[in-house]
């Protein structure tokens, strides 16, 4: 479960994220929508712990995440976060070693099969198309079987078939207890998400507290301090 308690971000005197309180439990897909430059990626980076909030705090399972807790977070940004000069396999092996993924070879093979890039495993990432690079970026994020998935435009560059496959993979992981936060412009996906969060000019316009998987009726919207 990830919780933001009045977390805000100010950089160079500019408010990038107004205070936001948000609590997302396991088994939920949250869609973050908003216009370009609204602060969606900023929200995701604060959630991931890449940017420390200027005020407030971000909690993972009720505590401030330490180094070991970062293994529970799978992050996909708009950039692939991969090394173009390394092959797909070398990239996944490198990050797998950093994440201490057990049975790394088997895990890479399973993810390559899931995202259909088995035949590109020994190709340098720099030579992959945008769609294949995105598949590998998703595989990199899913490598340590994280419980919190923070995905920024995960469908970018994917063909419709792969879009569906990634959605299925995401749903399967969420059904197994993961929490997914997906920044997207795909209104169809956002419409099907369990929780929808709209961001505009650094303000999170709506938030929900969802302490566990359940139907829409069981969810409890909150109007915590700092919400518009």
């Amino acid at each position: 479960m990830i919780e933001l308690r009045r977390a805000s971000l100010i950089r160079n005197g500019r408010i990038l994220l107004h205070p936001v309180s948000l609590c997302l439990g396991p088994g939920l897909v949250t869609a973050v929508t908003g216009p370009n430059g609204a602060g969606k990626t900023t929200l995701l980076r604060v959630m991931a712990g890449l940017w420390r909030p200027s005020e407030g705090e971000v909690l993972l399972d009720g505590k401030i995440p330490g180094a070991a807790d970062r293994a529970q977070i799978g992050l996909v940004l708009q950039e692939s976060m991969l090394y173009g000069g390394l092959t797909v396999r070398e990239n996944l092996r490198f990050f797998g070693r950093l994440y201490r993924v057990p049975d790394l070879g088997g895990r890479i093979a399973a993810l390559a099969e899931e995202f259909a890039f088995e035949r590109r495993l020994d190709d340098p990432v720099a030579r992959l198309s945008k769609g294949y690079t995105q598949r590998v970026a998703l595989a990199r994020a899913f490598l340590p079987a994280p419980r919190l998935l923070l995905l920024d435009e995960p469908f970018d560059g994917l063909d419709p078939g792969m879009h569906e496959l990634v959605t299925e993979g995401l749903t399967r992981r969420v059904q197994n207890g993961a929490t997914a936060v997906v920044v997207t412009h795909d209104l169809d996906f956002a419409g099907r998400a369990d929780v929808r969060v709209a961001v505009n000019r650094g303000r999170v316009n709506a938030s929900f507290s969802a302490l566990g998987a359940g139907s829409a009726n069981e969810r409890r919207p909150t109007q915590g301090p700092g919400h518009a």
């Binding site: 991931a48 712990g49 890449l50 940017w51 420390r52 180094a67 070991a68 807790d69 970062r70 293994a71 977070i73 992050l75 940004l77 950039e79 692939s80 976060m81 991969l82 090394y83 173009g84 000069g85 390394l86 070398e90 490198f94 990050f95 070693r97 950093l98 994440y99 201490r100 340098p124 990199r140 340590p144």
Partner: protein, 220 residues
């Protein structure tokens, strides 16, 4: 932590082995510098002090090239964030990059230093110990300060200027020590304890400070 450090070193070495731009350009620059210096001296042997200064000037500029290049490995496609999200002490990222940068810098030193004897007519070392210690301490020290500064300036727009401009003043004590050690190896000077101590103290300082501050720096 050791696994993470080793993984980062292997990754940087593999990336450099694939492209081979980094070492080739640094070594080529070093040779060209030595050739131009040889032309300027017109075949006359270079005094030991001047040769030591010239050698470290080459290594210092190679250091700037190498470190800016290896940091670009992380900047392309923001792989840097992938490292930061790894469940390891973040100082492991610093030490991994430090070991890789030290290795690259030491290889440049090994390639360029003999050209001073061959092209510039500098006599072979009368005493090897100060030369070896100086080259090793210089490689580790420059890589440590440089790697640290690169992380400090990573968010700056004028990093290509800011990095060398801040590297040179910060490394003056180290450069002073390694230049004296290098010159002493060619002239067999005694009483080098103070320069060994300065180089050693510098390495301890810049080996430990990043360990203490790195987590804080990268989170801001």
């Amino acid at each position: 932590m050791w696994t993470a450090i080793w993984a980062i070193v292997q990754k940087d070495v593999t990336l450099e082995y694939r492209r081979r731009w980094l070492l080739a350009s640094a070594v080529l620059f070093g040779f060209l510098f030595v050739v131009v210096l040889g032309i300027a001296y017109n075949g006359k042997p270079l005094p030991a002090d001047a040769a030591a200064g010239a050698l470290w000037m080459v290594i210092l500029f190679s250091c700037v090239t190498i470190l800016l290049r290896t940091s670009s490995f992380e900047e392309e496609q923001k792989a840097w964030y992938g490292l930061l999200m790894a469940p390891v002490d973040r100082s492991a990222i610093f030490y991994g990059k430090l070991v890789a940068n030290t290795l690259f810098l030491f290889l440049v030193e090994l390639a360029v230093t003999p050209s001073f004897w061959v092209i510039l007519g500098v006599p072979g070392p009368a005493s090897w110990l100060p030369l070896v210690v100086g080259l090793a301490a210089g490689a580790v020290g420059l890589a440590a300060v440089g790697t640290f500064l690169l992380f400090l300036t990573s968010a700056s727009e004028g990093r290509e200027i800011l990095f060398p401009v801040s590297l040179i003043p910060l490394t003056i004590p180290l450069l002073l020590a390694v230049i004296r050690l290098t010159a002493a190896s060619w002239t067999r000077s005694d009483d080098l304890f103070v320069w060994y101590a300065v180089a050693g103290g510098y390495l301890v300082l810049f080996g430990l400070v990043p360990w203490l501050l790195f987590e804080l720096l990268v989170e801001v």
